[in-house]
Symmetry: C2
Subunit: 699 residues, 2 copies
């Protein structure tokens, strides 16, 4: 894992080198050690180009040097090396880079952690030595980087061999853990005209991680968005720092499925965070997660649009069908179809014929769209509506002059209104060969279908909504560590010990105590108000209910019997106040590679059946805890169903917030399950009815 506190500037030569050394350069055409030299020239890299090879022969018409040190001694200005020798020779190349004082090198070679334990050891040694020597490493097992603006193709991807391949510069950075997939995606970005400024393939991520590369790219002047493909994600703080800069980030995190996660783990060797944790963490830091390469690029296309003030979308179309599909997508993506104001509708009624629609989705009809002046008026009316945050324009088969006029009208309204306009043009490219380019130039991303246009717009809305949120997480969360540290529970804390600990720190639990015998049990029931729960306290007995170790609703009459039965299990008997009539929640804390995960959801008898919880990575604010309740069916249960009274939601939130405060002081890696926590009717508070604890592993 990279040292994220390191100076990001050390990574700049990856795309803005003053000079590049290729260690392992070869003269043979088409050889891997030749390709970067050819590519750097072909794409116009104008700075120093230094082949390094032991024999000092000429490579691609260039003088070579036996080492980077020798090249520097000869006055060659080099601040980046591509290491393209066999794995066994990599340590020597790294020594050379250190000796030459390079800030960073790309290890293209494979044969490291991806091949097994031996390779992993070699990799660890190389990284350790580089850290000592102040050298940052990209890779190994990677295809390199591109600084698009300067033609710095420090990569050997076959993409750059393509006869028709051209670099398309732009303000978006692209970071990929995978080389082949990453450069495949880059080729698709260029094909659609999505300009990139920086491309980084991180490979094994022995030193520099995807997140660090993303942060370094985002810090470059002119960077307006980051697209990333990653297989492992652990550096949540790094991501938080990144999104806090305001640069939008979209992540294609592979390994959603169990099968995919296993494949990713064997591919990267990294411990995977559960997919739902990744989802929650990305949302918390304001990143957008996507599911496919095409979606990643679709989101890249909207990153440079103005940010919408909200999620209310107007659809304008000449195709009723496209309008319906757009409306479907708007709902599916969590946006809303803007209800147009009466004034807007009146204005549209004067423009739109009877067989169109002046309600949203607005079907202006082909006759209006082919009349520039009328179409302009309709667009203005829609974009001027205060209830409209963004416009989706959908059209289908349009040709020649019609397309030009439509594009001009859309460009005008986009510029005038400052609201984002995205287009779905469902028709073959040859019908309007210039349409996509012209729209892109006007800042209007276009997609082949309404669903894709709306999905990209939803990401834009997420970026807009996240901007302040990402900022606010910079301010201290309300669940900050306590001044006085709270001792963690012991390794094998029983339910009762755990409850006493929780109670001692202000978390409400039912009143209770150990009974010393059958008679004492009767007294204890009395102290509990006449009805109690008896629980067997047997060291090692975790699933008490399944083992018959819990008796609910014990009265004076049944106390002795119940005591005798539970004592027979071989331990003590705990007698506890019976707390009835609440809504049962599950509250849990568990470790993950991204940090401690808080789980809140439907608990008690319904836990497995409903299986509906919300997740956050700590720290969380009280507001976030409150929001979590409504992300599962717990929110509805708390509101009271089928005549049940509303539950004490506030007390439940207090309880969870307090738990998070206490847990902050506990060692990382703890796993705590409070299930059920009952939320009683409003005003009556909440109580932890059961608690189980797993001590951190390896501490």
């Amino acid at each position: 894992m990279g040292d994220v506190s390191g100076d990001l500037a050390a990574l700049r030569p990856l795309w803005s080198a003053r000079g590049v050394a290729v260690i392992g350069a070869t003269d043979r055409e088409g050889a891997l050690g030749r390709l970067p030299l050819d590519f750097l020239r072909r794409y116009g890299y104008a700075a120093e180009l230094v082949p390094v090879r032991p024999d000092g022969g000429r490579v691609a018409g260039l003088d070579s040097y036996p080492s980077v040190v020798a090249a520097r001694a000869a006055g060659r200005e080099v601040d980046l090396a591509m290491i393209m020798v066999s794995a066994a020779r990599v340590p020597g190349a790294v020594e050379d880079c250190i000796a030459a004082g390079l800030p960073v090198a790309i290890i293209c070679s494979s044969g490291f952690a991806e091949t097994g334990a031996e390779g992993a050891a070699l990799q660890a040694g190389v990284v350790a030595r580089a850290r000592e020597g102040g050298l940052r490493l990209l890779g190994p097992n990677c295809i390199g980087t591109v600084g698009v603006a300067t033609g710095q193709v420090t990569s050997f991807s076959p993409l750059f061999s393509g006869d028709q391949t051209e670099l398309v510069p732009g303000p978006i950075g692209f970071v990929s853990q995978s080389g082949a997939l990453g450069y495949g995606a880059v080729s698709l970005a260029f094909e659609r005209g999505l300009g990139l400024g920086w491309v980084v393939n991180t490979g094994n991520e022995a030193d520099i991680t995807s997140v660090e590369a993303m942060r370094a790219v985002a810090a470059e002047e002119g960077c307006r968005g980051i697209l990333a493909y990653v297989e492992s994600l652990t550096d949540l703080e790094g991501l938080r720092s990144l999104t806090a800069t305001g640069v939008p980030v979209a992540v294609l995190k592979a390994g959603r499925s169990d099968a995919g996660a296993r494949a990713a783990a064997s591919h990267t060797g990294a411990l995977a965070a559960a997919d739902r944790v990744v989802d929650a963490a990305l949302r918390q830091v304001g990143g957008v997660r996507v599911d496919d390469v095409e979606e990643l690029l679709d989101v890249g296309d909207v990153m440079t649009c103005p940010r919408p003030a909200g999620r209310r979308v107007a659809v304008v179309t000449t195709s009723g069908g496209s309008g319906i599909l757009a409306a479907d997508a708007i709902e599916a993506q969590g946006l809303s179809l803007a209800p147009l104001s009466e004034a807007t509708k009146r204005a549209l009624d004067e423009i739109v014929p009877a067989f169109g629609s002046s309600a949203n989705p607005v079907d202006v009809t082909a006759s209006v769209m082919s009349n520039g002046e009328l179409f302009d008026r309709a667009l203005d009316a829609i974009a001027d509506d205060d209830g409209v945050d963004a416009v989706v324009a959908c059209f289908c088969v349009l040709t020649g002059q019609d397309v030009d006029d439509v594009v001009s009208s859309l460009a005008r309204v986009a510029a005038r209104s400052g609201k984002p306009v995205v287009v779905a043009r469902t028709g073959a490219d040859h019908l309007a060969p210039d349409a996509r380019r012209r729209m892109r130039e006007a800042g209007i991303p276009s997609y082949p279908t309404p669903a894709r246009a709306v999905r990209a717009l939803a990401a834009l809305c997420d970026f807009a909504a996240a901007a302040p949120a990402a900022h606010s997480t910079q301010s201290p969360p309300t669940t900050h560590p306590l001044e006085s540290a709270v001792p963690a529970p012991g390794d094998h804390a029983s339910e009762q010990e755990l409850k006493e600990l929780l109670a001692a720190h202000g978390i409400p639990v039912p009143a209770g105590r150990l009974a010393t015998g059958a008679d004492d049990a009767r007294s204890a029931v009395d102290e509990c108000g006449g009805r109690a729960v008896f629980k067997a306290v047997v060291p090692g007995l975790v699933h008490k209910s399944d083992a018959g170790g819990v008796v609910v609703g014990v009265t004076q009459e049944t106390a002795a019997d119940a005591y005798t039965r539970l004592a027979g299990l071989g331990g003590q008997v705990w007698v506890e106040e019976l707390v009835e009539g609440g809504v049962e929640a599950l509250v849990g804390l568990a470790p993950s590679p991204l940090g401690t995960v808080l789980t809140v959801g439907v608990g008690g008898l319904l836990t497995e059946v409903v299986a509906d919880v919300a997740l956050r990575v700590l720290p969380v604010s009280r507001d976030e805890i409150d929001a979590m309740l409504d992300e599962s069916r717990l929110g509805r249960l708390l509101a009271g169903v089928r005549g049940a009274p509303a539950a004490d939601r506030e007390a439940l939130v207090d309880l969870v917030a307090r738990l998070c405060e206490i847990a902050t002081a506990w060692p990382a890696g703890l796993e705590l399950d409070l299930n059920p926590v009952t939320a009683l009717p409003r005003g009556h508070g909440a109580r932890v009815l059961d608690a189980a604890y797993v001590a951190p592993q390896g501490d």
Copy 2:
């Protein structure tokens, strides 16, 4: 709505006309009434072309006739008319077509139901007259049809004006309710090389519906699949007949969202079936539903592939990243990543280097893929594995000869194995300009990303799985009508009347009776075994629980009080056996435009909170009812959670099956809610605990 019993052959001229009359033809270049004539000539339609206009002037160099009757009298062979006159003149044109004995006409004109009540009346009159006269009508408000093989472009879509537009013939039919979106999608199909044989735009569907058009196209020789965009769907029997022919059908049904459904309803004027009902109905008949135009075409691309025997997929790739994304998609789409046999793994271990993977997803590495012989051996090993039903090959940036070799290898293994092979090639087209076409020719559909390739493959698996199922629905379902009709409940049947009716027909309900007074109530409790439920029987009181009209757990001691309280609500008091300890289900029947819908899911207190049900359109088999239980969380509840005993699942299935039998004899449009139905522990049966009934509207 179309007469689906009509002869589908009458529709053939829509794509295979012996001669076409254009009513309302005009000579002016670019005018709508001129376009079809130009298009028919441009795309090579070789049969009769007859302009019809009152003045008999020449049109596009052709003699015109004042009527179709006159043209036929002059010996012109015409069996299809395009009606392109203003709405007011359409009735006259229809009379002409009837008089000329045409089987079918396309009304392109707008100004009918889509404009409001007046247009709807005009439309109804035209349809009524056409039915009398034996003329079938497509439209109105549509853009026409295409018979691709003969160049019959009986359409005025601007698609056919495109300089570069060429028809791409193929075995797939395309039916769209929307004209603009439909022809936009057709242009995208042609652009990707997906050949179509028949294109139909149904517009207002005043007579011929989408489903009827789909059936007629499917009946054409050589048709191997149907793609459809529809906004309203009501003819389930028609769909069933269609899928029963074995022709695969994919439907993009717009209006998934509430907003979209409202827009669709205002667009088509049709009553919409709830979206979940559409889902269930399509699945029941073996159709595949898609969510976007691109997905529709993606599915079109796999329709001609061999059908896989199961859902176990092997992934072969040179990109670890693509393999992970494919694995993710396989799980998301309900397919499974095939575990390879030991023999297969051994064979692969001999081929695949250490930094690849011989487990699925199989990363053969670029070095193997660039070696034709090794790659062939790897593919053979995978495709020969009996545990593999289909292969997804993923590659990224590949250029020149590499692509050619890979395509040859894939084509060979696809032909040899008879298993479907689909490809994800994540890279710009210009890197391998011929790859897509060559793969298509080899029967290998290719997509730009793993997710899209896998989604299309999942549809293919659905088609394969549906083929026998669609057939079996042709045999009588087990829930066929009873010989002796069961009387439907009365209009305002009370819970008790309803239960008596159900009980009389073999559906178990708790024992119970009316109490005549407080003393009698006590006796009734005794008859019930000492614990009872009291329910107020008050005409018009539907939500008894909310009104305090239900008392649960009444004993001898509390019987008099409970009786007095409920009697005070103004009606009678029903005393019923208390049935406890079961799992509560919801069983409902409700009308829909697609037929009576059966709902089974989680009931009782959890109904609204869990909100988890499965749907089917009647008739259903007992097996389908059984399968429904596992589509919601009810299945898990019935199996017994948190120590609860397993419930009598079989008795619940019996109860539902019996209900469906009885309901078959009841009038259409009834709405019946049995909630809860309790399933007691295994061996103890199931009981209907509450029942409510809404009589059909308007009967």
